[in-house]
């Protein structure tokens, strides 16, 4: 359950940053990204997947807890 700092880059894409791992990646896809609901499975540009509990669309930048989804599944 890493804490993830999320922010939008100048191109409007979501940037995913895990301080402990120096992981700084752009999110390629987000399962739910509508005005009603945000979250679900997030796929990063390096192929790794994380899961956020769906919530109301947050105000970026924000730190959220994410679950790592094993790529084997």
């Amino acid at each position: 359950m890493p804490s993830v700092m999320l922010k939008k880059n100048p191109e409007g894409k979501l940037v995913f940053y895990v301080p402990k791992k120096d992981l700084e990646e752009v999110a390629e896809s987000i399962e739910f990204d509508t005005p009603e609901k945000w979250g679900g499975e997030v796929v990063l540009s390096d192929g790794s997947k994380y899961y956020f509990e769906p919530i109301d669309p947050p105000d970026f930048p924000i730190t959220l807890r994410a679950k790592r989804v094993d790529s084997g599944e």
Binding site: M5, Y17, P19, D22, L23
Partner: protein
Amino acid sequence: MAALTREETEALIQEVLEIYPEQAKKDRAKHLAVNDQSLEKSNKCITSNRKSQPGVMTIRGCAYAGSKGVVWGPIKDMIHISHGPVGCGQYSRAGRRNYYVGTTGVNTFGTMNFTSDFTEKDIVFGGDKKLAKIMTEIEQLFPLNKGISIQSECPIGLIGDDIEAVAKKANKEIGKPVVPVRCEGFRGVSQSLGHHIANDAIRDWVLENRDGDDSFPTTPYDVAVIGDYNIGGDAWASRTLLEEMGLRVVAQWSGDGTIAEIEKTPKVKLNLIHCYRSMNYIARHMEEKYKIPWIEYNFFGPTKIAESLRRIASHFDDTIKEGAERVIARYEGEYQAVIDKYKPRLQGKRVMLYIGGLRPRHVIGAYEDLGMEVVGTGYEFGHNDDYDRTIKEMGNSTLIYDDVTGYEFEEFVKRIQPDLIGSGIKEKYIFQKMGIPFRQMHSWDYSGPYHGYDGFAIFARDMDMTLNNPCWKQVKAPWKTDAASSEAVKAAA
């Protein structure tokens, strides 16, 4: 000597690794790489921020060095207690040349060493009482201090002193910020964790102090310079450029900085990050909490300065954008004259760097402006995100080394034979004795500033006077010079 090809560089790495035992060889191989600009991510080719191997000569520092020496130390109007035995503070005292304005010992304390001087008794019975006493004494002797930070040395964590409780109590008594920093040297693998701990201490104990206090008048052009430690006056050379383009620099973190400036930073409109490695944590925190965007910039060499000024200006309105162009145009004659003078003397010279956490990539542009080529670079304590940013700056097939050992660095130098090496004091005399010109790139070899247009002129002069110094021709003993040149000497005589 011609540049090495990719295969030759890879072969060189293998050759150097040959001497290690199996396990160490496997580990060290992950830290050495040949640059490939086509890679987007450094973790494909290099591992960083890992514990150094036992038995090798590493050039790293400790968490205390990262916190007291780098982040907190330059805050000039606070007193930083090196809490623990006397050595850590004394042997690092004033060594980093963070310049500041003020009267030392009266209202500024940058070059002084305050320590609790732990003895056996303090280890056995705990040092909390002593710490409380020290702070009372400091308050009597130096009443103009604006706060105290407690920089823990190793024993504090080992014996489990509660410095937070002492700090809170002292804070009530003296009415000034008292910041306990848990930067014991044994934490982490290098000074990098010390930077992080120091950033977190600022976040937890200082940054919120003026939340809800709007008495500080702001302007739309307020910025903070973060991660510039004013080595040899660097921050001043940077600040003049920013002010000239119309921005107002509210805070300097932390070279020539004050605690008041740090408390006011949450009011700025944009954070400018120079040393990404040591201060990105606090910038990210301020982005989240205060919605202050941050950008990285680079004030080494005219190409990068112009790029950075334009990028900074793009966050503001047209007056600042015009201001940036005006500044670039104003200094054009100046820096062009520097290039015209020194480029012919330095053209084509090859440089190897091994520095801390920002300069291994930031100074590349400055060398390139002088027609020089950086053929090898590496970080003492960089992380993967630093190497991500380095890959594009370096040429293809150049050498990248992370946490290089003394042995590896020497072997690389022997083979690559660079014309100049830029690293620290511990490497300096080894390479000078090998007959290779050397500049200290941590302390600017007691010169500087190197930031900004003014700094570039000094940078170019320093590189020239080191590289083209006639002494390098005298290094080889006369009886070892080859026959041809001794013939020439006879002919001349």
